[in-house]
């Protein structure tokens, strides 16, 4: 027995006893065996934590997935710039000069440029029989064949305008416009009634997130807009892509380039930054769900504290036995604390897995990339462990305070 004495204890005298020891591995193993012995209770009591952590991880994951999806749509560079005709100082309309597009194309970092022209007063109806006031909110724009390339758009049905069809009464419908008109297929005889004459529908676009105006538009070629709709070749808006690292320099020279006579009447905007801001605003809802998750975690913590207090009451004899076998009061307390932490950590792991699965399910069904931030998994488990430790303090103290003889007498 004296071989077990430590140097610091020998000063107390040769008969001072060795200390009780409890290895960390034994502590954790003992707690795990205890939890395994009460499977249903274990599962039910860590459910609250699991739900809370799952909600938080899913919210973060879904918002990260949406963001990743958006970034993919924007193009990683976010280098789209819009130039819009505005008003002069005196409030009169200041259309872009005919030369604007060509001038902008000469700015060296500009990679692609395309113009659209708003046709004022033009309406689109399914047939001439539809009353003229039922415009469905569809605007008519003249567009160039390069539009889709610059906007990263694509055709859902049929084809886009090309140099040939731009000269004839052919129209391409935006996604919302097609829906409004009730057209979901492009057949050779599909026509719409556009400002007094029938145009053949040659294509339907997919939604263009960077330019929502296109979704509600009917697009015709500039030549046909000139000849049949009287547009006069004026562009009202120009879309351009620049070299990704040259966006700001290009933006600074755009007003003078587009309209040297009235640079103040030119509006330059970055749709990518507007969309990014909108995405950020959407994640504000995430705060609400994170809050709900926090409430669930709190309720779960109270549940764990409750079940651990009950456990201490039920296992008084075991506590007395362990004290008789040499456990110090703090080793007994530590055992209950460890069980509480493990219980909560188990809930945390289940929650993190559930949240990741929910994110994947959402992302897959909505066609987005699955992004589960690893940091949210780590934080989820860390929160569960911290909450378990807090919830376990009171039961552990109760277990530690139980006098061994009293605990043994209780049965």
């Amino acid at each position: 027995m004296s071989a077990g004495l430590r140097a610091d204890q020998t000063q107390k005298g040769p008969i001072s006893p060795a200390r009780s020891q409890l290895r960390a591995a034994d502590l954790v193993l003992g707690a795990l065996l205890g939890l395994r012995a009460r499977k249903l209770r274990t599962a039910l009591s860590c459910l609250g934590i699991a739900i809370g952590i799952a909600a938080a991880v899913a919210v973060l994951g879904i918002s990260a997935s949406s963001k990743a999806n958006l970034l993919a749509q924007l193009g990683a560079e976010a280098n789209l710039v819009t130039v819009t005709a505005g008003q002069g100082f005196d409030g009169s309309p200041a259309p872009l000069p005919l030369t604007a597009e060509a001038m902008i194309a000469r700015i060296p970092p500009v990679e692609s440029v395309t113009a659209i022209g708003y046709v004022p007063g033009a309406t689109v109806r399914r047939t001439a029989a539809v009353p003229a006031i039922d415009t469905g909110g569809i605007s008519v724009y003249a567009a160039q064949p390069g539009l889709l390339g610059t906007l990263s758009g694509s055709v859902a049905e049929g084809t886009f305008l090309n140099a040939a069809t731009a000269r004839y009464p052919a129209v391409v419908l935006g996604a919302v416009a097609a829906q409004t008109l009730g057209i979901d297929r492009v057949r050779p005889d599909t026509q719409v009634y556009l400002s007094g004459q029938y145009f053949t529908v040659i294509g339907i676009l997919r939604p263009v997130p960077l330019a929502p105006a296109i979704d509600e538009a009917a697009l015709v070629g500039f030549p046909v807009a000139d000849s049949l709709l009287g547009l006069g070749g004026h562009a009202t808006q120009i879309y351009l892509r620049t070299a990704p690292d040259q966006v700001q320099p290009v933006v600074s020279v755009l007003p003078f380039t587009a309209n040297p006579a009235q640079p103040e009447a030119v509006q330059v905007s970055l749709p990518s930054s507007i969309l990014a801001a909108r995405a950020a605003a959407r994640t504000a809802y995430a705060g609400l769900f994170l809050g709900l998750g926090a409430v669930a975690v709190l309720v779960g913590a109270v549940g764990i504290a409750n079940i651990m207090v009950i456990s201490v009451l039920e296992r008084r004899a075991e506590i007395g036995l362990r004290r008789a076998l040499g456990a110090t009061r703090w080793q007994v307390g530590l055992q209950f604390l460890t069980e509480s932490v493990l219980l909560s950590a188990l809930g945390g792991v289940a929650g993190v897995l559930g949240g990741a699965a929910a994110t994947a399910g959402y992302a897959i069904t909505s066609g987005q990339p699955t992004v589960v931030p690893l940091v949210s998994l780590a934080i989820g488990i860390a929160v569960a462990i911290g909450v378990g430790a807090l919830a376990g303090v009171y039961p552990a103290v109760r277990a530690a305070r139980l006098a061994p003889a009293e605990a043994l007498r209780s049965q």
């Binding site: 200390r19 009780s20 034994d26 075991e318 456990a327 080793q331």
Partner: protein
């Protein structure tokens, strides 16, 4: 023989109105190899004597020495170590953990000494062989008979080779056949130098011990073997 457990003028009272005196001026010396039965009616202070002797409860007065060491000045942690290393306990209700098998239950008796888990398991299996349960190592308490459960509990008490085994009504929940095996087992411990103190109502247990201590109203009124207490 050297004394392994010395109780001198020990009293224990519990607060209340009036205060309850569970133990009064008790003197008891247990030496290695002693086999002692503590007898007495219910409420005579037997269990309190065992708890005080086993450092599970601090006495209100008097001295308890274990292995020559006065324990009243020791901290809770030091008392725990004394229990873990020098004392073994056997209870009427066995107090086995239902979710652990026999080896794990016995190894629990060595848990708080530290050391390698493998060594503790080996010692536990060895102790189970000593109590005749070598064929029941992996059985859970629910798969064991009452007598077997108490034998597991005895194995747990002796796995660490304590100086004294303190047993509180070890046959109280057993039929006479199983109780007989337990008596033989406890009586046999002294052969290894382990002192045995058994609280019992069972005349068969008392008969199997070398020495009988009789208690009444918190006092030791008879002790047929302790030269130190003739009063």
């Amino acid at each position: 023989m050297r004394p392994v457990l010395e109780i001198t003028d020990v009293s224990k009272s519990y607060p209340g109105s009036p205060p309850v005196t569970a133990l009064a001026a008790a003197d008891l010396v247990i030496r290695a190899n002693d086999r002692v039965a503590v007898l007495g009616p219910s409420g005579s202070g037997k269990t309190t004597l065992l708890h005080v002797a086993g450092t599970l409860e601090r006495p209100s007065g008097g001295s308890v020495r274990i292995g020559g060491q006065e324990v009243s000045a020791l901290s809770d942690a030091e008392l725990s170590a004394v229990r873990g290393r020098r004392l073994g306990f056997v209870f009427q209700q066995f107090y086995l953990l239902d979710h652990l098998d026999a080896v794990q239950n016995v190894a629990l008796g060595l848990l708080y000494r530290g050391g390698q888990a493998r060594a503790r398991r080996a010692a536990a299996a060895d102790a189970l062989h000593r109590v005749g349960l070598g064929h029941r190592l992996g059985h859970k308490p629910a798969q064991l008979s009452g007598g077997e459960r108490q034998r597991v509990a005895i194995a747990r008490a002796v796995a660490g080779h304590p100086d004294v085994v303190l047993a509180d009504e070890p046959t109280g929940n057993l039929d006479s056949a199983a109780g007989g095996q337990i008596i033989d087992l406890l009586a046999g411990l002294a052969a290894d130098g382990t002192a045995v103190v058994v609280i019992t109502h069972d005349p068969a247990v008392a008969a199997a011990m070398d020495r009988r201590v009789v208690m009444r109203d918190g006092r030791i009124i008879a002790d047929d073997g302790n030269e130190g207490t003739g009063r």
